[in-house]
């Protein structure tokens, strides 16, 4: 049954989603530690597991942060492009955890480290 009240807003929502699109972040956790630090992509806490986690993410730049005891510590920025995958390796053995980009951009230093896909 055609329901304009539902169909129209849904179509609009889909259209707005498609304009920017989505991409992917592949998060690799270096094994060797029993306790993984809590990781955040922007405000969302990640259910990161040992090994590889693949996350669907809206196109744009997201901050990857870790729980640093006193608050969140910025590990790196992750640039997500439409239908592309950005690979980031996190080494939790280091304090604070270190972000290694498969394809880095920008200069070194936590504040400016950026991974691109």
């Amino acid at each position: 049954m055609f329901r304009p009240g539902i169909v129209a807003p849904t179509l609009l929502l889909l259209a707005s989603c498609n304009q920017a699109g989505t991409g992917y972040i592949e998060l690799k956790m270096v094994p060797g530690t029993a306790r993984l630090p809590a990781l955040y992509l922007e405000a969302d806490r990640l259910e990161a597991k040992p090994g590889v986690t693949v996350l669907r993410q809206p196109v744009g730049t997201a901050r990857l942060q870790a729980d640093g005891g006193d608050g969140k510590v910025l590990l790196c920025h992750v640039v997500v492009k439409k239908n592309r995958i950005t690979t980031v390796t996190v080494s939790p053995l280091e304090r604070p955890p270190r972000c290694q980009c498969e394809r880095p951009s920008g200069t070194e230093g936590a504040a400016s480290r950026t991974c691109i896909g």
Partner: protein
């Protein structure tokens, strides 16, 4: 006059809003309360259907890549392929609906088994029957989750391989190595066919729990 128009506009807005609510209400009522394991099975069934369609498109892309004559055409083809592979990856991403449902379905099976251990209402044979059925469901759910994990790894690898090839072609075109770029494009079709075979295997192996 102006107030009459405003009142009319308000009435129309209210009518449209009421219609929208009326249209939404039966849909909301019709939604049965299904448990995560049933939802997980339903979503896996849907996934198999959509993967079959995407698999067909990937096969067609592999065929068309062999006949490509210019690097520009090749780049466009790879971009389209990335879109198709991205659809597959979206369905199995760790933060996607199916992965979440899989985890919830597994947690439910674990909870039910623990609860049945403490259960005293049923006869031993009845209790054993329920325990066996939940164990079967747990095993089937774990197997489906493993298949999804494998698929996620394969699709992520394929997407990375496509984007790296696209970047390499782009670099080659910047130094006007058009022939070399065409070679890279044609070599890609083997990788795509391999991915298509893996996808077909996955479609054959994924079994929605309880089916």
């Amino acid at each position: 006059m102006r107030s009459r128009i405003t009142r009319g506009a308000l009435q129309i807005t209210a009518a449209v809003f009421s219609l929208a609510l009326l249209a939404a209400a039966p849909a909301a009522r019709a939604q049965p309360q299904t448990s995560p394991d049933v939802q997980f099975s339903q979503q896996l069934d849907e996934l198999k259907k959509s993967f079959t369609d995407v698999g067909r498109q990937i096969d067609e892309s592999a065929k068309s890549i062999d006949t490509i004559k210019t690097p520009e055409e090749g780049r466009k083809s790879i971009e389209e392929l990335r879109g198709q592979v991205a659809k597959l990856l979206a369905a199995v991403a760790d933060n996607g609906e199916i992965s979440r449902l899989g985890a919830r379905a597994l947690a439910l099976a674990e909870e039910k088994l623990k609860a049945l251990e403490r259960e005293n209402r049923f006869k031993p044979e009845e209790k054993q029957y329920l325990v066996n059925r939940w164990r079967e469901l747990r095993t089937a759910t774990e197997a489906a989750i493993r298949d999804l994990d494998g698929a996620r790894k394969d699709f992520a690898e394929l997407l990375r391989s496509l984007q790296t090839s696209e970047d390499y072609i782009d670099e080659l075109m910047q130094i006007r190595e058009h022939e070399k770029a065409l070679q890279v494009i044609h070599q890609l079709s083997d990788g795509i066919r391999e991915a298509s075979v893996k996808l077909k295997k996955l479609l054959g192996s994924i079994k929605p729990p309880g089916s």
